[in-house]
Amino acid sequence: MNSAKDIESEAADWLSRLEDSAVSAEDRTAFENWRASNAKHAAAFVRLEAVSRRLDRLAALRPSGGALPDPNLLKPKPLPRSRVRTTWLALAATLTAVGVGLGWRIISSPGVYERHFTTERGSFERTLLPDGSVLQLNTSSDIRVRYYKDRRLIQLTAGEATFEVARDPVRPFLVQARDLEVRAVGTAFTVRLQRDHTEVLVTEGRVALTTPVSIRSLARDAVAVEAGQSAVADRTDIKTHPVAPEEAARELAWHIGMLSFENDTLADIVSEFNRYNSRQIKIEDPALAARRMGGYFRATNLDAFVSVLERQFSIRAVNGSDGSLRLEPAH
């Protein structure tokens, strides 16, 4: 009988072979036979597949822009070999820091660091801004970042973004989303543009929301939103409400490419999936659309979601002529 190590090694070989898009039908059959021949084979395979899935989260570290893939992106820092070398390295590090500092100052003195980020449907972007703030972009989003001497200005024109803002009292961090302006000094929050309103979820610190003068007469002056709160702003008003940590975690599952639901209507769940996938799902039956359910899915794994609906909820998915998928009760 094979040892656990042998089985694991075979499982790893199969997993890496199946990563290749050009796997032959013979290979697939051979794999299925291998997996079915012993329950331990299947277990070892799922375990390594799960590890591989966890490593997929590393995609968030991909630098933005069209730079060539760098195989040494995560090269370990060399360990200093002697005292002299340590001192030298420390000195070099100081020089680099000064250089970077100066460089930033020179660039920023006329007032501008400017970048434009976009994401396509089903893709996510995570990027480090020059002041150390972190920007995460959700699917189908568009954002412009401009840094001036006295302010950091962000314009969100589509989609959803999370900001982990590096503290800088001299340069407030301003996010403009349609008619709404979110002002922060050092905090973490998410702004999502919806068709008829804008949502701001604060997970750390606090932000101040304002709307343009034209609308401000209708609303209050500036609305403070604190960690654990969410604000919904439409053309006439800003309303805040508390958000439990687990609810916030669900709303931000997209940070790792996942969607999380609890007691949501199927209509809402489907419209979330439609944000991430070019293949759109439709529901015509109102009773079906109103059914409530929960779950945890990879945002781009439409097949897994649909197969679960079919297996566990007596729902049928029918291919539409326009390439969409229509859900209906199976009866």
Binding site: S3, A4, K5, I7, E8, S9, A12, D13, L15, S16, R17, E19, D20, S21, A22, A39, K40, A43, A44, V46, R47, L48, E49, A50, V51, S52, R53, R54, L55, R57, L58, L61, R62, P69, D70, P71, N72, L74, K75, P76, V134, P245, E246, A248, A249, R250, H255, M258, E262, R292, M293, G294, G295, Y296, F297, R298, N301, A304, V308, Q312
Partner: protein, 208 residues
Amino acid sequence: MCLFGLWSGGTCVHTGWVTDKTDWFLQNVLVHEPALRAYLRRLTRGEADVSDLLQDVYSHILALSDEARGRIGTVRGFLFRAARNAAFDEARHRRIVPLRTLTEIEVSNVVDDGPPPEQVLEAHQELERLADVMRSLPERCRQVLTLRKIYGLSVRQISEQLGIAEHTVEKHISVGLRLCAQRLYEGEEGQANNKAVVKPRHRTEQGT
């Protein structure tokens, strides 16, 4: 609350908690591996192949039907019971009795103070941890997995960029995955990881 699936607590079954099997395994089963390994090592006094016993345990939980999974109570409890049974079976098979006789109370203690499932909000720390594991890999493995996981390149593209054969790329992926699994879930690294998770930064009322 019940963030991670139908089978994590059993209390959310009525809302139809469901998820992709591999993701479910990652979120609900694998998180317990460091603790399970420590438990099995203690139980068998280091005389059995813990990885082999774990493959048994995992095959048991994966073989359950969806419906049966809803009835097993907590995943962690099921895993520890299955681990204990696997260890006893193995000892009986070898006709030796090296097992420490842990009472059920001890077993349930082990089960209760476990780490909560990973938290979505800790994505930051998660990325740092994964990056550290990548940095610890042999150079070629690290390069291949970087191109695969961070840049999403195909095996062929990696083979072209690094100038190595496609089957060599596959071998590096294979070895790299096993090393990552080892560093994330086994031995000293896994223990350290586990300890870090046992102190919940957010909340402890998981799966209720």
